[in-house]
Subunit: 230 residues, 2 copies
Amino acid sequence: MALDTAPLVLVVDDEPAQLALLSYNLKAAGFRVITAKDGEEAVLAVAEQGPDIVLLDWMLPRLSGLEACRQIKASPQGREAAVIMVSARSEESDRVRGLDTGADDYIVKPYSVAEVIARVRANLRRLRPIAVGQVLEMGDIQLDPTAHRVTRAGEHLHLGPTEFRLLAALIERPGKVWTREALLDRVWGRDIYIDTRTVDVHVGRLRKVLCASGREDPIRTVRGAGYAMG
Amino acid sequence: MALDTAPLVLVVDDEPAQLALLSYNLKAAGFRVITAKDGEEAVLAVAEQGPDIVLLDWMLPRLSGLEACRQIKASPQGREAAVIMVSARSEESDRVRGLDTGADDYIVKPYSVAEVIARVRANLRRLRPIAVGQVLEMGDIQLDPTAHRVTRAGEHLHLGPTEFRLLAALIERPGKVWTREALLDRVWGRDIYIDTRTVDVHVGRLRKVLCASGREDPIRTVRGAGYAMG
DNA sequence: CGACCCTGTAACAGTTCTGTGACAGAAAAT
DNA sequence: ATTTTCTGTCACAGAACTGTTACAGGGTCG
């Protein structure tokens, strides 16, 4: 989820062999991998870890893949993840039901590992139009994560580290309203106790830099909720 | 007040005996029940009352259960309801056709009352979290829960936090009539003591914003009952 | 027709929330 | 070691929001 970490993939399958195979190859491809062996575990893992991609087997004990998909897509974490259903059944009706339930993509068994990885990459691209390592852009503001550099209308801006991560979070999901708590998690890190008002102060500082040349304020304050960009 | 929030079940059957049996038992199980005796009545009742569950007999006069299901699922109110088809025919093809039409579940006659109630409960569990998620839409009004943003005919509207949650509740179940007590629960939170008249005031404020540019009022006042949208 | 109930709205006072300047300590750079 | 930058917190003013009340007007029913 964070900019400087590899995408997190959750693999859900009740056959240990499949799990190991996919897990190994995905790790080799540079992803971080977590696993679950049934639907309930999958739903829980999504809520707790917030993966970017969920590879979900159709046939699962305890909670069918279809139902698991529905529950995942109903959770706030699941909405931000791309769910790829994996099924042995190639019938059109299954595909339709799967996609209707909220799945983002569909892979039919037997699959090649290369195909799975390709699909994962494709869905990541779609999930985050601006891929990791690329320049994040919004209006006339550009943010380069690797170079730690921000420009507005071509003009270079100087941001402190916290302001930089704050802007990165906001610009990464245009329009999304972040609560102060969510921003503390995302920008400052989990398990850290800091007054939520601190967020306000840093937003203020960020605004001051962004609007230095009398430009319009790109950060929207949502009273009672938090902040958003765009 | 508990009655106001109990799930609403619409039972559709052309045999009065069946209707009475199901109705009686569902009420005994704590649900609110309304009935319809043919497909047309059913479609109308869904649009007007916005039930949470529709128990739909396969064989109906005026409008077959299948066709009624299709129309129900095509309406905004039906999208929020779970449709359970009830049929004497147990053939697999019927089941597939029913589910393809948009039915959420399928019960085969002869059924036990306990089974029906169990299925209703199961579908309710599955239904609940669906409401939260994507952009809620109704007519020319759009509400984006994640972006905390409301537009009407493309134009941005500014709502306070309470007005926003109020609109979200109303738009989430189009056609459903909310009592003031139910809205206090849903918008303000449970276990809070606030005068019900407060709801009127906030509805007024919400209307003022929604109708700012001389547009039609989308909120319907149901005298003696409460408010509804659509 | 009159009494009563219900709803819409304006006004208001109190509360909550947000933006900002100031400041001291921590961290980093020189 | 000294300077500079950065960070978290606080205090305070102003803005935004909220719940309640009061009153007017329309609907309903005897």
